[in-house]
Symmetry: C2
Subunit: 666 residues, 2 copies
């Protein structure tokens, strides 16, 4: 974590920049960055720094930053990794507070790189904020600064911010979003995040007035707990759209090679999303679709959908997509159905919700009347229209002589905007892709123009029903959260443990431990000491002892093998329940020992635990773990389930994990 | 089902067509169909039929088909629904064997329409095959015939067939597929399927030599059993790609309004896909992506992927997509990693699988060497390359001065084809969409040209990693099926029931039944009669009787309430287990009765079942149902699971349904 008491403004709106590594060679990384800033129109003072050379692109080259006769707000380092520590020392001497390191070759390469990255941190602690290393920098139109491959990015500013651990995706998400109409406040490629990390950036963006919607591409997080708290606090005010990658085994390995990130456990991240209310997206398209939605409808919208389709197949596919996204598509009240019946012919249409208007080329009067009927219903929050409007602009190509006149086309195109304004209800349009051959570019151009027209008028446009409903579901969920108070303190569940005695079981056991796995007896000792009722359990060292203990406890009893090498006792044949007599007790002991001897000959045996059978009841399971990214996690669920069931269910179905605010185990 | 002993050739390659409903009004449905066939270039003899009018588009109008002085292979009916039966009678008299009814207004409208549709069937049984009603007809380039909105469809034939219950999707899937390079053998919009149904069509296409890949948009099926058998027989020879819609509650309701189809149960369809080996796709894009895959790689491909990415983020996203699709991405052998290490710089790249080549604009020599290294490994079946080649054609737009020369661009573009041929391994390319604003049409044109070039060279191209891996998974699964024998008869599980006695328990119970729900005692009687062991169970009418029966059976016993109104006995508090003494038996009886009286005061009580406690063991559950579309279904799974677990799991996790070939219950 960076010390962000001084904020990060210099990274976004620096008055002067030194580009260290800009050289006389035009294709060097530093020179290309300098060129990028010039092309983009950076207005502050620029300085090139290199140990050799005279000038580049009309700029004098200074040997070090110390030679620059001016104060520097931001240094950008583009030299080989091994030279970076020395250069950072120069920056420190020069009094530069903000440094972006584009160079790769640090912790993502393993131990040697990790040590080099630690050197950077040691220097930074003396008064520098570092962005990177292994990143592309910052794009901020209001500061007239851009990332290295971003010289052609839009100059106008917008309400969407993006943080991306991947340089490639910081570029790619911007490129893909531009065409959709999205404009950015700030885009940060932050790479290995050795100093300024995702939490620092989110905290900054949550307060940033330019930023209305936050999006993020995340491989791993440095301080999961802080990340969680910041998002939890902010996600009821600004939508925070997270694309968390690397949650598969293969993806996680790739994330380590890429940015040295620990991608984390899927179950932990599932709990994170449930509790933080961050908006979880699964791929690039969903991230962009959701950003488009929030750009058009900043506060989201209500959930009840009326779908109007230009064809019957679309009603079925649309209804499927609606239900899968978890949104209601309520039936129309009788008076609305009556109105629709008077508008549409009986055959080849449907007046139920979803409405089938019968053709993707409806006449103006019919389309208008149908939309009015649906929008006027107080059962409906949002109108979705599919596969109609593309036909409008390009209908000559698709429907030949049946195409409407230019004037009618214009009027058809304007109806959704009129309906939206007249009824004050959001409209969403599905503009499915049609012919996409090389000789049909006119069609695609028509689609894009129409998309831009609707976007400018506050109507989001999507390529398929599925994508539209997925984005819509994110919008509606966010709306229910706006204004919701997060009583995080009230939710904080603490358990007061009893006073500790001088030497606790815990410290005694820890002291003598020869393994990291505690056995049943040890676990019960610790639990008992913490004030939790446990069944009296005694360790027997021999068959005779086991029988004697059983007799003393009273039947029925249970016996369980105790071995540091056998954690799944039942699976190993190491458990006998419901032992009713001393004869049975002796037999149970022998049987367990024989089975273990046969199946686990290598296991060291500490003895046999003997305990009274517990009374029947609801069995529960409680688990804890310390996640490396998020800290204490609590699991609670149904216990005593046959193992075969637990395995065939997804884990979260039987019990669920929650992030927990305080660690019970200290 | 149609009597298809005569095949369906006349629908695809008719020598003469009568269009009934073509009129002097140019925008009438019939006239538009006539115009469609003329534009498309139909070469046979065409006749217009209408009760009035003289001529249309240069054709004489005949009042009825009976007036045409020629034999007619195919009649196409485009008149209002109510006139269709009379016209069909004319067709029958004229000896026309094949009729396509485009008119809507039949079973999709409810009871009245259903009766009208039945009239058609009655006439058809005298010697006509009907396609439709409520459909768009047939597109078959080799027969020079097309669907009503298909006058601009490609004239060349191809290997993909499509059957679609939705007219709109029969058109839309073709339009969307054309640009991707797919060409069709036959496309059939079959609407309400009153006579020729999906099974008839699949059976025909499975034998059709023109057809290599079968695709289908299905709302519901008429005869699920036959449909299942045909697909099971054929899906090891030709890929059968099914888009089954309407499996949600909303979607199912929409399917009834659309084509009067019963969409069916999700669990049943899940079993269908598992057992039939049809390829299940979830949306339009997946259907097209999979068709593209099979068009390029007709016999599928092996599963082990090497991914080459032009950037690190893409390796993570690609690895996630690979694992989610269930495909292996094995590590490279040391010698391959060694080779890669000598090619790529250490920083900003990765030599592990997935390979990060470091930039989307790699130099020719590096890209070639990397692909050679990966393709030469015997651990790899298929090479996937992401976000590199678009940069090739349009790199000037994206990378400015760093763009390669025209000649180098051409060479870069050709590498994948060379690698594919040199190593005989399939190559798949991910060409992510980039800037898609209105002023970037050149980029999209570049993408399409590149896509077409690769398609022509047997390399499928996809818009995202996710889409590429999903399609690839379908290809690899099909490959493992090719040549697999379906021992359907050997799989046929029959149980021989013991000989029936004169009056069976079943007939006796059925005779006296006052409810459709059998109680526990009745169930056990029937099972016992069929030769299945059951626990002796006796019905007690009073507390005294219950205690006496318990004493006689011997403890421990179980008691369960018997009422036609209480099927979930445990939930209702109607079960007591492990009763150990006659005192406990009396108390258990009272407690059950009191609980039922309190919670279910309306329930009629038939008595209390008393039985010995069963010995512990693995509890299983067996269920049967008769699905309206697929017939007998057998369910088998783990029983004795706490209800709360079963509810929180998806049903299929605890037990699974299978289609069953013979009904046990006759």
């Amino acid at each position: 974590m960076a010390n962000t008491s001084n904020n990060l403004d210099s990274f976004f709106s620096p008055c002067s920049i030194a580009i260290i590594g800009a050289s006389e060679a035009l294709n060097s990384f530093g020179t290309r960055y300098l060129q990028s800033l010039l092309t983009f129109g950076y207005k502050g003072r620029l300085y090139a720094v290199n140990y050799k050379g005279e000038q580049v692109l009309g700029f004098k080259i200074y040997p070090t930053v110390l030679d620059i006769p001016d104060s520097i707000d931001l240094a950008i380092i583009c030299v080989s990794a091994r030279f970076v520590p020395a250069i950072l020392q120069d920056c420190l001497k020069k009094g530069i507070r903000s440094v972006t390191i584009l160079s790769a070759g640090f912790s993502e390469l393993g131990e040697e790189g990790r040590l080099l990255e630690e050197e950077l941190l040691t220097i930074a602690r003396q008064g520098i904020h570092i962005m990177g290393p292994n990143c592309f920098g910052v794009y901020c139109p209001s500061g007239k600064i851009t990332i290295i491959p971003g010289d052609s990015f839009p100059r106008e500013t917008g309400g969407v911010a993006l943080i991306a651990q991947s340089g490639q995706f910081s570029e790619h998400i911007v490129i893909r979003s531009i065409g959709e109409g999205i404009r950015f406040s700030k885009v940060i490629s932050y790479g290995n995040a050795c100093n300024i990390n995702e939490s620092d950036l989110l905290e900054y963006l949550a307060k940033d007035e330019e930023t209305k919607v936050i999006t993020a591409y995340i491989e791993g997080v440095k301080d999961g707990r802080r990340f969680f708290d910041i998002i939890r606090r902010s996600s009821g005010k600004k939508p925070i759209i997270l694309w968390k990658v690397g949650l598969t085994r293969l993806g996680s390995a790739a994330a380590i090679s890429h940015t040295g990130s620990l991608a984390g456990e899927r179950t932990v991240w599932d709990a994170f999303f449930r509790q933080s209310h961050a908006i979880k997206v699964e791929h690039l398209e969903e991230l962009i679709d959701t950003s488009v939605g929030f750009s058009c409808l900043p506060t989201g919208c209500g959930p009840r959908v009326a779908l109007i389709s230009g064809g019957g197949g679309g009603t079925v596919v649309g209804a499927d997509a609606c239900e899968r996204a978890g949104l209601p598509m309520p039936p129309f009240p009788p008076e609305v159905e009556e109105k629709l019946r008077s508008i549409l012919p009986a055959a080849g249409t449907s007046i139920k919700n979803p409405i089938d208007i019968g053709t993707p080329h409806p006449p103006l009067a019919i389309l208008t009347a149908v939309l009015e009927a649906a929008a006027s219903s107080d059962q409906i929050d949002v109108i979705m229209i599919r596969r109609i409007f593309l036909s409008v602009t390009v209908s000559k190509l698709l429907s030949g002589s049946a195409a409407p006149s230019e004037e009618e086309q214009q009027q058809l195109m304007e109806i959704p905007v009129e309906i939206k304004e007249k009824y004050g209800k959001p409209v969403v349009i599905v503009l499915t892709e049609e012919l996409n051959s090389v000789d049909a570019m006119e069609l695609e151009e028509g689609r894009r123009k129409l998309r831009d027209y609707y976007f400018a008028n506050g109507i989001p446009v999507y390529l398929s029903e599925q994508r539209a409903f997925t984005a819509l579901a994110h919008l509606t969920k966010f709306r229910t959260r706006i204004g919701m108070q997060h009583h995080t303190d009230a939710n904080d569940t603490r358990i007061t443990a009893p006073e500790k005695t001088a030497e606790t079981a815990r410290s005694r056991i820890r002291h003598r431990a020869t393994t990291t796995v505690l056995n049943e007896i040890q676990c019960k000792e610790i639990l008992q000491e913490e004030g939790i009722n446990v069944i009296e359990t005694t360790l027997a060292a021999s068959k005779e002892e086991a029988v004697a203990i059983s007799n003393k406890l009273g039947y029925p009893v249970a016996m369980k093998i105790i071995s540091p090498h056998i954690t799944h006792k039942t699976d190993a044949g190491g458990v006998k329940l419901g032992i009713k007599t001393s004869h049975q007790a002796g037999k149970a002991y022998d049987l367990i020992m024989a089975t273990i001897e046969k199946n686990n000959p290598e296991a060291a045996i500490q003895g046999m635990s003997v305990q009274k059978m517990a009374a029947p009841g609801v069995e529960i399971v409680i688990g804890m773990t310390k996640d490396p990214q998020f800290g204490p996690m609590l699991m609670f669920g149904l216990g005593g389930i046959p193992n075969s069931v637990r395995c065939s269910c997804s884990v979260s179905a039987v019990f669920s994990w929650r992030l927990f605010r305080t660690s019970l185990l200290g």
